[in-house]
């Protein structure tokens, strides 16, 4: 083990002592007039969130294929699928449970769920925290008192807040996720019972069937198949599987 060394303070001469004391008084005066806080004056200011911030979740019904992936994957059980007037099932989010992991967004094969930079998902009571589908389609109404947005900057060894006049844009326009193209295939043809549930489920019209002389011909159009996996989930014999295109 190394022997301990005594800690010795710097030895200032008189000139240096005056200089450091004057500097300290200067900083104190400056801070009392224009404080250098490390915190943001929310809600008058908002922190500028990075584009991959995980906040309030938006939903686009046109892109939803009702595959239930989001509700299956949600580790907090915050997503319930509810039947919409058009008989389709769409997600709802209970923000009393949501842990903002955004697994739902990552799992959404149609790209129907989208992240926003809204971090202040706050409510007056528990009931309000349940967000029905209708309220997920557009940004929620939030009273914006923010006149500036704030960014942290590291200058030399110091953390500075950079304040910019104006509102931060809360939408995130990320490009659609890169998806590995998948296609539904039958892995046990002889076990197909010919119920055509797959055909009925398919939203892209990729599965077709035709009956001719005592045989039912099933066909998956691999060009039309988007690899959403709805048929795989619904096949009553579990003989369909997603494979790489």
């Amino acid at each position: 083990m190394k022997s301990m060394k005594k800690v010795v303070g710097p030895e200032y001469n008189l000139g240096e002592k005056i200089k450091t004391n004057v500097y300290a008084v200067g900083v104190a005066m400056q801070e009392s007039v224009y404080p250098h806080t490390a915190t943001v004056f929310y809600p008058r200011e908002r922190k500028k969130m990075p584009d991959n911030f995980r906040g309030f979740i938006l939903f686009d019904p046109d892109k939803c294929i009702s595959c239930f992936n989001c509700s299956f994957v949600c580790p907090a059980n915050a997503i319930r699928m509810k039947e919409a007037p058009n008989k389709r099932y769409y997600p709802t989010v209970d923000y009393g449970r949501c842990i903002f992991c955004h697994f739902c967004i990552d799992s959404c094969s149609g790209g129907a769920l989208k992240a926003t930079k809204i971090h202040d998902v706050a409510y007056k009571d528990m009931d309000e925290m349940f967000t029905p589908t209708e309220e997920m389609i557009e940004l929620p109404e939030i009273i914006r008192e923010d006149k500036k947005y704030v960014e942290y900057e590291i200058e030399e060894d110091d953390l500075h807040l950079k304040r910019t006049k104006g509102e931060d844009y809360l939408f995130v326009d990320v490009p659609p996720p890169i998806q590995i193209p998948m296609v539904s295939q039958c892995i046990d043809r002889a076990s197909c019972i010919g119920c055509r549930v797959c055909e009925e489920m398919c939203e892209s019209g990729a599965i077709s069937s035709s009956a001719e002389n005592g045989m039912l011909r099933m066909k998956i159009d691999t060009d039309k198949c988007t690899g959403c996996g709805l048929c795989v989930k619904e096949c009553s014999m579990q003989i369909l599987k997603l494979e790489r295109k």
């Binding site: 295939q185 043809r189 076990s191 010919g194 039912l216 599987k241």
Partner: protein, 347 residues
């Protein structure tokens, strides 16, 4: 079982079965030919395969809302063992008839059914065995047994003289299994499994052990419970039901109620009145009480897989074995063979 990636196909054909009533759905065909003619055995093979919703309503197999929900795929008529009924009877083909008594488990007779299924799990032949257990009111419930320890539920063994939904549970088990499934059931259930296996590879590949039970008849739950209650059976005290030498014996914690089975003739399920198979001839092994001493099960070992399990049981010393006397089965085999007449009568 696992299929390699890239092994899938995008085009395939499914044979569509014949429809005797051309402009009706397959379910209506099944209903007209099997259910309404009282041929239906309530084996639930149809319900196991039906993606629409064949189920049991009261004492009958039915499909509420079939008009809108039947997909008209024909799977039900493909698998129903009585749509094109070929009655089986006799002792069937077998390698050997033996008597056995498990040292590990308690059951109806020698608990050889339990022993066969549990040993098959231990050997790695199957990863789950389906048992027909019961609730405190003696209604059957299906259990997927994966560990021998689960047999601590003592109601899993033993005979329930009422139907069990074995085949719908089999469909589910087949979807989950990695190694294979073992099941036990009455002869009609065994015939149902064979039809499923004959028609669909998924069942062929994954059902690895089919144990049959000797069976003369069975009863609908509501009928038999009402009947037994009238006879003075208290279900909260009932521990065992037996049919021995023509007598139905209900053993309760504080005594027994006995009567002749013939008295229950009117409530025998209609499908049993046209059933001629006593020994489950299509099984891998079938088990019953007649043919061996009290406390032993009579086991008909029919196929190689069952033979292997019996050899494993012998090697491990899990059971005592003795000789079975097949001549004792003749009476009940003959009794059931006579029911062929009822089939013609009904058609």
């Amino acid at each position: 079982m696992a299929t390699a990636v890239g092994a899938g196909q995008s085009e395939w054909e499914v044979a569509v079965p014949e429809k005797p009533l051309k402009d009706k759905t397959y379910f209506e065909n099944l209903k007209a030919k099997v259910i309404d003619t009282n041929l239906c055995s309530r084996c639930l093979t149809c319900a196991a395969i039906c993606p629409g919703g064949i189920t049991v309503v009261g004492n009958k197999v039915d499909f509420p809302d079939y008009e809108t929900k039947c997909l008209d795929c024909g799977a039900c008529v493909r698998v129903c063992p009585r749509f094109v009924y070929e009655p089986k009877s006799g002792l069937g083909d077998y390698i050997e008839f033996i008597a056995g008594r498990s040292k590990r488990f308690a059951g109806q007779d020698g608990a050889m059914v339990t022993e066969l299924l549990v040993s098959a799990i231990e050997m790695g032949m199957i990863d789950r065995g389906l048992f027909a257990g019961r609730d405190e009111k003696w209604a059957t419930e299906m259990f997927h047994v994966r560990e021998p320890e689960q047999l601590a539920i003592t109601t899993l063994g033993g005979t329930k003289y009422t139907f069990a939904d074995v085949l719908p549970a089999l469909k589910e088990a087949v979807m989950f299994t990695k190694r294979g499934v073992g099941i036990v059931g009455t002869p009609c259930i065994v015939s149902g499994v064979r039809k499923l296996q004959q028609e669909y590879p998924i069942f062929r590949d994954r059902v690895k052990l089919v144990v049959g039970l000797f069976c003369t008849e069975n009863f609908h739950y509501d009928d038999i419970t009402k009947f037994l209650q009238e006879k003075g059976v208290d279900f909260s005290k009932l521990v065992k039901t037996d049919i021995i030498k023509g007598k139905f014996i209900s053993t309760m914690t504080d005594g027994k109620v006995k009567f002749k089975v013939a008295e229950a003739e009117d409530i025998i399920a209609s499908g049993c009145n046209v059933c001629t198979d006593f020994t489950a001839v299509e099984s891998d092994a079938s088990v019953g009480s007649v043919g061996s001493e009290k406390g032993f099960s009579t086991v008909a070992v029919r196929e190689e897989n069952a033979k292997k399990v019996i050899e494993y049981i012998k090697e491990k010393g899990y059971a005592d074995f003795g000789e079975a006397d097949t001549s004792q089965l003749d009476f009940l085999i003959g009794h059931k063979k006579k029911r062929e007449e009822n089939i013609k009568g009904d058609r």
